[in-house]
Symmetry: C2
Subunit: 112 residues, 2 copies
DNA sequence: TTTATTGTCAACCATTTGGTTAAGTATTGC
DNA sequence: GCAATACTTAACCAAATGGTTGACAATAAA
């Protein structure tokens, strides 16, 4: 059962280890969005974005709802809308605090 | 300059996306440690652990100090010993909060 | 000086990743 | 019915990952 948690963490961190996917998350943090609209900013095929979204789905970070031919992605589903703000907090946390951490460690590294 | 931050984030998340490396971090959070001692719990060659440690070093999460033939790894360097506790906080954060998030999203997924 | 210990490095291997193109599936609109 | 729209899927590809083995380097101990 530790294994279960572990593999989910693997999936989450792996999902976050790609700048395109982090950008998708950042985009979805503002509002739910269709696939094509999500893909628009990227110099990449729709198929590639489709794959990225599946990775995010696999990690549980993105949920898809299908209406007709339109797939809408959001960072969580209806019953958990409150969690979205929470995720944005983490996104800030990751981008700012972690960056500060890494910078500090690197600076320290040059000092040694 | 966003790119710089981005690639460092890539490195950090990628480093964390492997259970062996997370275990190494958890181990180092308790105390600095030599490579062999670090490798002991794992059913893996020393060379493999050596590679993992280099990944952690590349992400700035682990710093190595060499004394004779012994390489000692720690989660940060001397001038930043205070940061170690900080890192452990993040480790707890990641393992518990993120796991809760993922679990919640997955539960929600089955509900939809 | 010889031997054991600590660890790296290089070469190799199978698998995964991240991208492409091309074709296919639904749905929508004319 | 036919064409456009919104996506997925499959097949492929180069590069990265995560592991192995085996040879090497450097230090410590005998």
């Amino acid at each position: 059962m530790v294994n279960n948690k572990s593999t989910q963490l693997d999936a989450v961190f792996h999902a976050l280890a790609d700048p395109t996917r982090r950008a998708i998350i950042a985009r979805l943090a503002q509002a739910p969005c269709g696939i094509s609209e999500l893909a628009a900013p990227f110099d990449m095929t729709l198929a590639a974005i489709s794959k990225h979204i599946k990775v995010l789905e696999g990690a549980g970070l993105v949920v898809r709802s299908i209406e007709g031919r339109n797939h809408t992605c959001q960072l969580d589903t209806g019953p958990m809308l409150g969690g979205m703000e929470w995720l944005r907090h983490y996104e800030n946390f990751w981008n700012q605090r972690l960056d500060a951490l890494v910078t500090a460690l690197n600076t320290d590294d040059t000092t040694a």
